[in-house]
């Protein structure tokens, strides 16, 4: 088990490097750059800036420099920077995970920007995740139990709707109805709990719907299985049969979905934060892309991809707790 976790953690390193490399390359290949904006800089100044960020060097030197910064490298003689994680071994100082300064937000490091804006996205993401899980599971179980009843048809119709409405449509509709129409909730921005409700529902809807459908299908499948018949033959009541014998097997498909769901939630925050004007990581990411703020793009992509990989590992581990037949090798 432990060796499985270590092995998987270890694999994250080359995967992350690959993601970083591809992102870096894509930014380079795409035409234009941070400096090709509307404001034309005097050539001398542009030269200076390029020199400062090492953009005058050939691409492979730039690549190696970037790689050294975002992983680990020793500080050069006389180099002063507060960025990244720094520690000393004897005379030499080592610096790790430094994504540099943002090009747009002068004097602010990428790490600092991520740290500042992450809490908004995490709050949205976790709340949406919990909402999707709780409502999705409950609706799925009830639908399966009352198969072909109005309750079943009703919740599945709602799920179908949730699946087919993209969040950039659902968000504005919710705002129109509950904020601008009924004045129950604020239409946008960050503040107290009432600000969170609409964006969280917008973000969660599609996953709620998907989890409800997965749960229903999983439960229906399991409740037909031989061991459920055995449980009934023992004289157990339906609640015990369902919760003690059925649920574990029934929600395994849902667990498999939680990995992709997280990735989707993170991507979803990009849109939802934009719709609701929330200063989270997603919103910053859009800005970074529009600004061609290379270090910031790289930092956010690297951070999110590592987050997703760690979460997928957590999902794989949780299988083992659900299903004793799974062996980690």
């Amino acid at each position: 088990m432990l060796s499985f976790i270590l092995k998987r953690l270890f694999i994250i390193i080359p995967m992350a490097l690959l993601v970083i490399t591809l992102t870096w390359a894509l930014i380079r290949i795409a035409p234009g750059s941070f400096y090709s904006g509307e404001k034309q800089l005097p050539p001398a100044i542009e030269e200076n800036i390029k020199k400062k960020y090492g953009l005058d060097k050939p691409w492979y030197s730039q690549y190696l420099l970037m790689l050294g910064n975002v992983t680990c490298r020793t500080l050069a003689e006389g180099e002063v920077t507060k960025n990244g994680l720094q520690f000393s071994i004897g005379q030499t100082t080592v610096k790790c995970f430094d994504f540099g300064d943002s090009l747009k937000y002068q004097g602010q490091s990428v790490n600092e920007i991520i740290r500042r804006h992450l809490p908004y996205s995490v709050t949205l993401g976790i709340l949406a995740y919990l909402l999707a899980l709780v409502i999705g599971l409950a609706a799925g179980i009830i639908a399966a139990l009352k198969q072909n009843s109005p309750l079943d048809y009703g919740s599945m119709a709602l799920a179908m709707l949730g699946l087919s409405l993209p969040n950039f449509v659902l968000g504005p509709i919710l705002v129109l109805v509950f904020a601008l129409g009924l004045h129950w909730l604020p239409p946008a921005r960050w503040g107290n709990l009432s600000n969170v409700i609409l964006p969280v529902i917008t973000l969660a809807a599609i996953y709620m719907a998907y989890i409800a459908r997965l749960t229903r299908a999983g439960m229906l499948e399991v409740m037909r299985s031989d061991y459920i018949r055995t449980a009934r033959a023992k004289g157990l009541n339906e609640t015990t049969v369902l919760l003690k014998h059925g649920l574990r097997g029934g929600i395994i498909p849902v667990v498999s979905f939680t990995g992709p769901a997280l990735a989707g939630l993170l991507a979803g925050t990009v849109v939802v934060e934009k719709v609701f004007a929330i200063p989270g990581l997603g919103n910053i990411f859009i800005q970074a892309v529009l600004n061609r703020d290379e270090p910031l793009i790289l930092g956010i992509v690297a951070f999110l991809s590592i987050l997703i990989m760690i979460f997928n590992l957590a999902v794989d581990i949780s299988y083992g707790f659900l299903d004793p037949r799974i062996r980690y090798e």
């Binding site: 037909r224 299985s225 031989d226 061991y227 018949r229 055995t230 449980a231 009934r232 033959a233 023992k234 004289g235 157990l236 009541n237 015990t240 003690k244 014998h245 574990r248 097997g249 659900l322 299903d323 004793p324 037949r325």
Partner: protein
């Protein structure tokens, strides 16, 4: 209610139908039998003949919909099971009548420890506390021949072999010392050597605990040494019914004769291909007007295709559903004497 005649189970004209897209499947269509206390009844028939549905009906375990018991009486120790509220049925299930199933690989819950699956039965029906239930579970595992029960009780089903799992199923079924044990093809999914062990175990436990047993199988060879009487099922109907000895010696139905011929005989030459009744069982959703076995029968006459056969009494406890039951019986007696 105590009973005077020592009958534990009476099934009378049971009909269980399934509503399917293909029409109404008459899975069980007028089955009757009686089981005395301490007796073992064999139910034999090809796959799809309605053996499982008959016994699931007795336990009220038919999935509804699509299934429904549409007719008949099921009297268990004087209790009309069909009329019982489902909560009352649950008090009987697992306690007074228990069932073991064909596939021990899928019949135990893969997600729960053996201990948990065993303990929940006696905690429910016998009011055991955790400690009592745990000790009882170990005792039951030992009873079914798992000698290292203490070490293995907290394992998961996948850590057991097929034969061991079936032992666990039997331990579970017998936990509350039921009066009726229904074993639905308990050895079909197992290796031949394990089969013999499991059958021996059931026989032994039955003798010790005095349980009445219904043993379901598609293999007449399995029931030979195990049962007092046998009913042979085909297309949801009883085709023949007789004491075991008599059924083997002098069958009065062509279908039974076919089944007997297809029993593997270790005394016979090894390489010889096993006999199989020609053709396939009929679609019970669309039965022809005559005898459902007619198309596969070596004795078939014109009348078999047009008229439904009568249930002819041969001897006191021996009945056969066939237009020519007496002739077939006479032939069997002759063959018997010739040997």
């Amino acid at each position: 209610m105590t009973n005077h005649n020592g009958t534990i189970l009476t099934v009378n004209d049971l009909k269980t139908y399934f509503q399917t897209e293909d029409g109404i499947v008459k899975a069980v269509d007028g089955i009757s039998f009686q089981l005395q206390k301490g007796e073992t009844l064999g139910i034999v028939g090809e796959s799809g003949s309605g053996k499982s549905v008959t016994n699931l009906s007795v336990m009220r375990l038919i999935p509804e919909p699509p299934g429904k018991i549409v007719n008949g009486d099921i009297i268990f120790d004087g209790i009309d099971v069909r009329e019982l509220a489902i909560d009352e049925v649950r008090k009987i299930r697992g306690k007074r009548m228990a069932m073991i199933f064909q596939d021990p690989m899928t019949s135990l819950n893969p997600f729960l420890r053996i201990s948990s699956q065993l303990m929940e039965v006696t905690r429910l029906h016998l009011g055991h506390n955790k400690k009592q239930a745990y000790d009882h579970a170990i005792k039951m595992l030992k009873t079914v021949g798992i000698s290292d029960a203490e070490e293995r009780i907290d394992s998961y089903p996948h850590e057991f072999s097929g034969g061991m799992r079936q032992r666990v199923m039997i331990a579970m079924a017998l936990s509350c010392d039921p009066e009726l044990l229904i074993a639905d093809e308990p050895t079909t999914a197992l290796d031949v050597t394990i089969q013999a062990q499991i059958l021996e175990l059931i026989k032994d436990l039955k003798a010790r605990m005095g349980t009445s047993v219904i043993l379901i199988t598609h293999d007449l060879g399995v029931v030979a040494g195990m049962t007092e009487k046998i009913i042979v099922m085909y297309a949801g109907k009883v085709f023949e019914q007789a004491p075991t000895r008599e059924l083997f010696a002098t069958p009065a139905n062509p279908y039974t004769k076919g089944l007997l011929k297809s029993v593997p005989d270790p005394a016979h030459e090894q390489g010889k291909e096993l006999y199989q009744i020609p053709g396939l069982p009929p679609d019970v959703a669309h039965l022809p007007p005559g005898c459902p076995f007619a198309e596969r029968c070596g004795y078939v006459q014109e009348i078999c295709r047009t008229e439904y056969p009568p249930f002819i009494q041969i001897n006191e406890d021996h009945h056969s559903l066939c237009h020519f039951a007496r002739e077939v019986y006479a032939e069997s007696v002759q063959e018997r004497q010739a040997k």
